[in-house]
Amino acid sequence: SFFTTSPRHPGVHLLETVSPALTPLPSAPLQDIRNTVGNIPMEWYQDFPHIGYNLEGKKIYKPIRNKDELDMFLEKMENPDYWRTVQDKMTGADIKLTDEQVDLVHRLQKGQFGDVHFNPYEPAVDFFTHEVMIHPVTNRPADKRSFIPSLIEKEKVSKLVHAIKMGWIKPRKPKDDTPTYYDLWAHEDPNSILGRHKMHVPAPKMKLPGHEESYNPPPEYLLSEEEKLAWEQQEPAERKLNFVPQQYRCLRAVPAYSRFIHERFERCLDLYLCPRQRKMRVNVDPEDLIPKLPKPRDLQPFPTTQALVYRGHTSLVRCLSISPSGQWLVSGSDDCTVRFWEVCTARCMKTLPVGGVVKSVAWNPNPTICLVAICVDQSVLLVNPCLGDKLLYGATDQLLESYVAPEEERVQPVQWVTATMEEHSKGVRLVVQHSKAVKQVTWHGKGDYFASVVSDNSNMQVLIHQTSKRWSQNPFRKSKGLVQCVLFHPIRPYFFVATQRYVRVYNLLKQELTKKLMTNCKWVSSMAIHPGGDNIICGSYDSKLAWFDLDLSTRPYQLLRHHKKALRSVAFHKHYPLFASGSDDGTVIVCHGMVYNDLLQNPLLVPVKVLKGHAMTLDLGVLDVLFHPTQPWVFSSGADGTIRLYT
């Protein structure tokens, strides 16, 4: 290494030499007016008459400045030494600079050294050379410590070793050499621009011209006469080539292509109409779209096998009804009889010839009354079957006999006739004679009122009768279509009237139409109401079964098309979540129909069993279905003259 020495700056020397020359003025030995305030800002004395203190402690008074601006100006103009006069701030006296002092100022202004005699460019003397010498500068031998191991280092190393042993210092992990990659497209949005690039569909390309397009095609590409004829007869869309290959002598002889504009237009159309985005097709397994239904095995009990056959009728059995206790069954048939059966043994207990085709039977749902309404021709017979509890049917007879006719005769649409003695012995108690044929009768849940449907086109189609008062009335003023069947609501004062395509719900108390249900069927055949009263099912001749949730909508909640032929009858079970439908195809289909108390949960409809057994007769199968009131058993009556019980 080497050092260079720079010349000493002469400024310090200058100040030392100059400042004593500045302060002592020529009159200084006479009057030393040196100020003793020290190095303080002189503004502090601005407002005082003195400017500090001299060596004796006397105030140094500021010189009297009585010159005004004009005097100042005149002095500036007249005094030749004005430019070299400065004011001493410490004493306030004017000092006139000497020539030497002016010179010094000039030199300093020029950036020269204050000392005239100082030479800044003296030659430099090198004490140490920059070159490395072969001999050392000093001949001192090397220290001993440079030969022996360092104790300090040893101590440091032992500390490190200890720290490593104690596990305070972890050895460095080996460097993982595998490079890390980043999947830039891992979380890419398929709708982003990049995604769209992925979905890129290239524009359809035109077929490259082949030999046919050549102006001078090889002869095998040229069409023969027959081919040309065939080409002309083909539809333009069916042609394999849309032009006829032609041969020209040379390229110059090729005329302008007449279809050029046309083909360009078609090409543009192709490009324009070509789909540029792949259609996102949802890949759905069709099995997943089928709603998950519970297995029928888990929905037991429901009827599964035929248990009993009730034989005795000689013609088709149109209608069925069961006593509220479930002990007796009544059936009406085309052989002009009504039969009463014991349910558990299929024993025919009674046969009642009624002298006409029985269209409908209905057992009074009131368990304290033993009465059956039977539709025969133009009348409704009220029959006491005299089955079951003696007290009960005796009380029923007493109830019917206790009727007292009102004083004034009222005009009624029907005639109430008490049965003759002969009829009475057979069980008939009352005959309600209608003007036209009656096709259906149904009881109200309390067992006093019943409704009958008459085959008529007028407003007299539906009549409501009161048994205890022997009073009938016609609830409707206008006919709304051919009434198929009617039904009372089990709890509320509603009345359901099914015409061919609609079911109308009337409020009997307010006497108004509450709802009109669109069945979506062509011809309703039958109707049944859920015992809860909020759901009804309609069977139709176009082999559909419509389930209505009255709270939900006036349209069917579900349309079940399980039957192959027209439905004749539908029924609900009183306690179990079951409903059944009988059809012309000879089968009864039992479905699980769970209605939940929770209004948010929709009913669960699961077909659970197809019951077969009835023989087809006259293209008719099952005519009526009916559930046992307490057991999960279903009865069906068929055109083959039998009634079957499935359990």
Partner: protein, 401 residues
């Protein structure tokens, strides 16, 4: 060791040979074989596979003399469906749908026709038998049970008591073992206990004044009797009752339960719950089991003493229709017969629950009632108006192996 493929006939030959070697005067006997209490009905190897018995094990095969088939004896023609039958050593009592009960001799001779009910007779029962006079009961759909005295010598029958109180058809009656009480089960869900002892006094009917006409009718038929006790608890019709002990009544009902009652206090002791309507129930004091026939194809065996309620010990399945009637053998602890709507009466051994011992397919219509007497007579009546009798010489002696 025997060949694995051997069937009962092969085993039977083998036993016979061994027995003939022992006794010179041995006659050929057909045997049936039991493995762990199960009848062998197929080749040995398949049976062992079915029962998961390893072929390495030593299997004990028990042999018993083969039960002979019941021999048909009589066919008694009735005028109408036979609803019930009960036989003693000398006579057969049947209830008929023509509103009568009939007494027949064992040879099928009509001895007596008891008419008096105004409706179908649903059940009959013997109360007491003497050489001179017999007491018997008939229950009917007309809601009454009539207690009759039948003078055997004069062959005259007299209605002693008319038991009134049920509000529905009386479907089942059962006489207790002391022969002084009987119980009736009715469609009106009630069980009533009555005295079966004839007296000269008439019980007061509570509502006699309301129904003078009805009372007139009953006066002709005997003295009115009212129930000693009424047991209510069933929610559906009672289809069958029996006394399972001196003071215990067992009733089967359409509400899918069998209930056991204390006859003394009228308390419900326990309930066995099934999942089908019960048509019939029978109790065997020999094996202390209840057998029930219900509206499916199965005969189920129950332990009436089990407290957990619904334990089916065994299901006997071979019928194809409702089982209308079951009856345990009075002498054999494993055997019972059952009648079904599939027109067949089956003879069962509980040790072979998969197949019955014998099918008695004589009826042409529904079988409604069966009975088994101590003398080994099987009776079955049905909707074909015929009562069939079979002689069944049950071999009670089990030969050990």
């Amino acid at each position: 060791s025997v060949p694995a493929a051997s069937e009962t006939t092969d085993l039977s030959h083998l036993i016979n040979k061994l027995l003939a070697a022992g006794h010179a005067d041995h006659k050929y006997v057909e045997f049936d074989f039991l493995i762990n209490g199960q009848f062998l009905r197929m080749p040995l190897v398949t049976h062992m596979e079915m029962e998961n018995i390893s072929t390495e094990e030593v299997v004990e095969i028990e042999y018993v003399e083969k039960y002979m088939a019941p021999q048909p004896e009589e066919c008694i023609f009735h005028d109408d469906w036979i609803s019930s039958v009960q036989a003693t050593e000398e006579w057969i009592l049947t209830g008929c749908y023509d509103q009568t009960a009939r007494i027949w001799s064992l040879e099928g001779k009509s001895i007596m026709t008891i008419a008096g009910h105004t409706e179908v007779v649903k059940d009959v029962a013997w109360v007491k038998q003497d050489s001179l006079s017999c007491l018997l009961l008939s229950a009917s759909m007309d809601q009454t049970v009539l207690l009759w005295e039948w003078n055997v010598e004069k062959n005259k029958v007299k209605a002693l008591h008319c038991c009134r109180g049920h509000a529905g058809s009386v479907d089942s009656i059962a006489v207790d073992c002391t022969r002084t009480k009987f119980c009736s089960g009715s469609w009106d869900k009630m069980l009533k206990i009555w005295s079966a002892v004839p007296t000269d006094e008439e019980d007061e009917m509570e509502e006699a004044a309301n129904r003078p006409r009805k009372k007139q009718k009953t006066e002709q038929l005997g003295l009115t009797r009212t129930p000693l006790a009424t047991l209510s608890g069933h929610t559906e019709a009672v289809s069958s009752v029996l006394w399972s002990d001196t003071e215990e009544i067992c009733s089967a009902s359409w509400d899918h339960t069998i209930k056991l009652w204390d006859a003394e206090t009228g308390d419900l002791k326990s309930t066995l719950t099934g999942n089908k309507v019960f048509n019939s129930v029978s109790y065997s004091p020999l094996c202390r089991r209840l057998a029930s026939g219900s509206t499916d194809r199965h005969i189920r065996l129950w332990d009436p003493r089990s407290k957990d309620g619904s334990l089916v010990l065994l299901s006997l399945t071979s019928h194809t229709g409702w089982v209308t009637s079951v009856k345990w053998s009075p002498t054999h602890e494993h055997q019972l017969i059952s009648g079904s709507l599939d027109n067949i009466v089956k003879l069962w051994d509980t040790r072979s629950c998969k197949a019955p011992l014998y099918d008695l397919a004589a009826h042409e219509d529904k079988v409604l009632c069966v009975d088994w007497t101590e003398a080994g007579l099987l009776l079955s009546g049905g909707a074909d108006n015929k009562l069939y009798c079979y002689r069944y010489p049950a071999t009670a002696s089990d030969v050990g192996a």
